[in-house]
């Protein structure tokens, strides 16, 4: 999903979907929290969730970005533990993909890239079967955005539906979860094929 969300963030942010400002914090348990109009409240504590993987400059299209960026993916502890036991994501699972600037020359680093304090935004994917007819829903937050409405199905949902290896999630890019899904038979190997 990493690259996926990178794409959805770019696409959806560019499309300028409306955002609301709300003050309520998310649940410390890592469950999705909404305002009354189905806007997702920003998950504030995701950096204390389970880390799945990072990408750098991942891109699903032919055009390269004009800046270097890392994407870091997190899920709540409770959802991760459920996945380890089943190879499936429980209802209310939340994924966060964090986008951070990449820098190269700093301190003693001379080559390659490290992550900067420039938080560019986060993309959030939620599995919420009771609330949304499409079950998996996508939200994009800028660096300061406190709540967001769901992205339209065509932009984000479609790509996850067509290309993700486990349900709507890009487990093909999460090295520690891939063998778990393979063990439980939930991994679609054909989704690894280069397109």
């Amino acid at each position: 999903m990493k690259r996926m969300v990178f794409l959805l963030v770019l696409v959806c942010t560019a499309a300028g979907f409306g955002v609301l400002q709300a003050a309520a914090p998310d649940s410390p348990s890592g469950m999705p929290q909404y305002s009354g109009d189905n806007h997702l409240l920003r998950p504030e504590n995701y950096r204390e969730w389970i880390y799945l993987s990072s990408g750098m400059n991942m891109n699903y299209g032919p055009a390269a970005s004009d800046h270097d960026m890392f994407t870091n993916v997190f899920v709540p502890q409770w959802a991760y533990q459920a996945f380890l036991k089943s190879g499936k994501w429980p209802d209310k699972t939340v994924f966060v993909v964090e986008e951070r600037g990449a820098e190269s020359k700093g301190s003693i680093n001379k080559q390659g890239h490290y992550q900067s304090t420039d938080l560019m935004g986060i993309g959030v994917e939620v599995k919420d079967e009771a609330r949304f007819p499409d079950k998996w829903v996508y939200f994009n937050f800028g660096s300061e955005t406190k709540s967001a409405q769901a992205a339209p199905k065509g932009a984000c949902w479609r790509c996850h539906e067509d290309h993700a290896a486990v349900e709507h999630t890009f487990v093909q890019f999460y090295p520690t979860l891939k063998p778990v899904a393979q063990k439980f038979g939930t991994y679609r190997q054909e989704r690894e094929k280069v397109e």
Copy 2:
């Protein structure tokens, strides 16, 4: 420390420091565990610790590596929480830097890099003031190594001593911890200077 440990892993692994095989698991609480001869037992559950940051192909020297690699850094929850409250690392803090292969062409990804299932090794840094006279000690584990003896002071300790921004840790490369250390006055800003 990311790049740091990358370097120490390269340097120390190349030097062929002896390793022992041991079967005992590490503590689920994220405290260092040793065999009787001060060999550190491999931290087995670090992927459930707190993620600090990743680098890609970071390098402190002029020579580039011949393969693409990510480095992911983790600390135990208890040590992270202590750092948030003080900007300092408590005694018995353990850092793990995981080295993973980087791939580019796979599934729908066309550019940039994602992490592979190729775990190349881990570097471990421990602050243990009672056990080691140098207080901070470094260990390197291959993908299967179960225990390791401390790396010699010149290879790893020296570089952390001379270049890390907070104690022996490269907080200049950990974007969410840098402002914490700055708030508590434990951050050595001059360590950011390009060398």
